[in-house]
Amino acid sequence: MAPQESTPIAQPAGLPTAEEIMEPSPMAQMRKRVFGHYGIIIGGSTLLLIVLVAIFAPLLAPFDPILDQDLADKLKPPFWHDSPKYDPAHPLGTDLQGRDYLTRLMYGAQISLLIGFSAMLISLVIGTTLGVAAGYFGGRVDIIITFIITTRLSMPVVLVALAVVSLIGSSLWIVIGVLGLLIWDQFAVVMRSATMQIRNLDYVAAARACGCSTFHIVAKEIMPNVVNHLIVVATLEMAHAILLEAALSFLGLGVQPPTPSWGLMISEAKGMMFFDAWLIGIPGAALFALILSINLLGDGVRDVTAPENRN
């Protein structure tokens, strides 16, 4: 057969034409949809910016977040306050201990992202394992895992986290661990139903009939088709973890001072709320921007991968 693909008119009658619908490959389609989605572009670029700032904080920040404190310089206003106290060396002002607020904000991003990402990763591993096992094996395994999920859902996250942290003390790694062990429920629920749907499809039956091991089926046939759900939940849970960390730090049971954390910065400034609102406003806005960008990205991923959106 000559491989040339000339116009169909040249096809002699009676010869089978190649019956083809040439659509782009799934990857190419995905790329096209991603770059046409405003949510992904805006959320993604904001998040990327925050991540870059956090990583390069030691290079970018003008001061040390903890050591460079000077009580004489305390409570310098930020640049938009037209005040004679404004010091160009501290564009976002200084806090109650006279530490540079911009520096603490940059290092705070490290903490937020570290906690959000690590806690999300722990919960992803726990939740996905449980959810995929429940969805794939069904029956008794499903009953037991569903019971575990229900048990977990009946526990109020903040209360349990507070109780645990106040019992065993508080550090960065304890906060990450506690959050990771508490917020896997979404992963488990979503993975369970996604796996259930896919395990009943014929290509899974075909793989089983080929003699594939359970591990192969889960890893090669099921996971690639549920990974889009996984990304969506992962972004939302990361936002969730960041907010929880801020809440815990605000209550004094999260990251301990003098480590710069956005929740802690808000907490330390709460006494000055009516006098110097920017002390709360700046870390608050940073938190808001981070959560919004993550959620925009997550929603965008859901939009571009959801099958019902494909038309």
Binding site: P8, I9, A13, G14, L15, P16, T17, E19, E20, I21
Partner: protein, 341 residues
């Protein structure tokens, strides 16, 4: 069957066209489709997936997706032009003068209401009748569609019925207001063969009894040949051949119709294990303009003259039997004989 007596015209469709704007341009899924349905007559629209048969029926009911654009020179039900009536008036017509039966009886009944509720609602929506009158009619029709213990069924929910029973309920619901026109879109595709025969039998009986017009949309040529008075074969948005069932099945003229009939195994006729006929290639994309014959790329007789201009419908051997091809009817028949030999 057309026995010479002129039945009253109930549905007239002329040059019905549906255009849907899509990302790649303008999709033309239905292109200048014309047909007529008379009282007591069954028109079967047959074709493969994507030929536009379902959109044709939806556009008659004005149930197209909101982006679709419908045009026609005539679209008249019982003399009333339907093209420019208000949505309210159309909603009055739907389910009253013209009813539809869908393929999947599971999804077209509301799972949270009883059968009785849904049947009565169909009548109460359109007629000023009392609840008990509506109930009586529901029982009468359930018995008509062959459901035993009809009165006790009224309190059952759809999930308590089998697929065949649900489809019977759907038919009863379509008949509640005594429609003049029934459109059935693949009514038996989701059912077992044994149930399919029963449902088709029932539809044919009821249609004669109530003297309704019926459009039956299907891809199953066996169903078409048994139930149709007239047949319209659709391909890529166009009607490529119409005629009485006898004309189309005994003298298929369009190469596509001929090809379809060669594709299906017929017990007792096709030789076991021998090769079936096939139609190579795929349906062309209907986005944008497609000059010439839509079937040309898959047709064994295609020539250069098939690829330009518009191919119009022309008469075959008998009056009322038309087809869309550049070949003369006897040329097509000669090809068919050669193919069979």
């Amino acid at each position: 069957m057309t026995d010479g007596t002129e039945h009253e015209l109930i549905l007239k469709v002329e040059n019905l066209t549906v255009d849907i704007p899509v990302a790649a341009g303008m999709l033309h899924p239905v292109q200048a489709v014309s047909f007529e349905v008379r009282r007591g007559e069954t028109l079967c629209i047959v074709g493969e997936s994507g030929c536009g048969k379902s959109l044709t029926s939806l556009s008659i009911m004005n149930l197209l997706p909101s982006t679709a654009i419908r045009t026609a020179t005539h679209l008249a039900l019982d003399g009333e032009e339907l093209q420019n009536v208000s949505e309210n008036r159309m909603a009055d017509i739907r389910g009253d003068k013209m009813a539809m039966i869908f393929q999947e009886p599971m999804t077209s009944l509301n799972p949270s209401y009883t059968i009785g509720n849904q049947l009565e609602e169909a009548l109460l929506r359109h007629r000023k009748v009392s609840k008990s009158e509506a109930r009586d009619r529901a029982v009468y029709l359930l018995e008509k569609v062959g459901i035993t213990a009809a009165r006790s069924r009224l309190t059952q929910y759809p999930h308590q019925l089998s697929g065949g029973l649900r489809q019977r309920v759907m038919i009863a619901m379509a008949l509640m207001c005594g429609p003049e026109m029934i459109i059935a879109d693949e009514p038996t595709t989701a059912l077992d063969v044994t149930i399919q025969a029963q449902i088709l039998h029932l539809l044919a009986d009821l249609q004669k009894e109530f003297n309704m017009g019926m459009i039956l949309i299907t891809h199953d040529l066996g169903v078409v040949s048994r139930i149709a008075d007239r047949v319209a074969v659709m391909y890529a948005g166009q009607v490529v051949e119409t005629g009485t069932a006898k004309q189309v099945f005994e003298n298929p003229t369009h190469p596509y119709t001929q090809g379809l009939l060669e594709c299906i195994p017929i017990p007792g006729k096709t030789e076991r294990g021998a090769h079936l006929g096939s139609i190579p290639g795929i349906v062309p994309s209907l986005v944008g303009d497609l000059p010439g014959c839509h079937f040309a790329d898959r047709c064994r007789y295609a020539a250069d003259r098939c690829r330009t201009g518009e191919i119009t419908l022309r008469d075959s051997f008998d009056p009322g039997h038309v087809y869309r091809c550049v070949l003369q009817p006897d040329e097509c028949a000669a090809h068919l004989k050669k193919g069979a030999a």
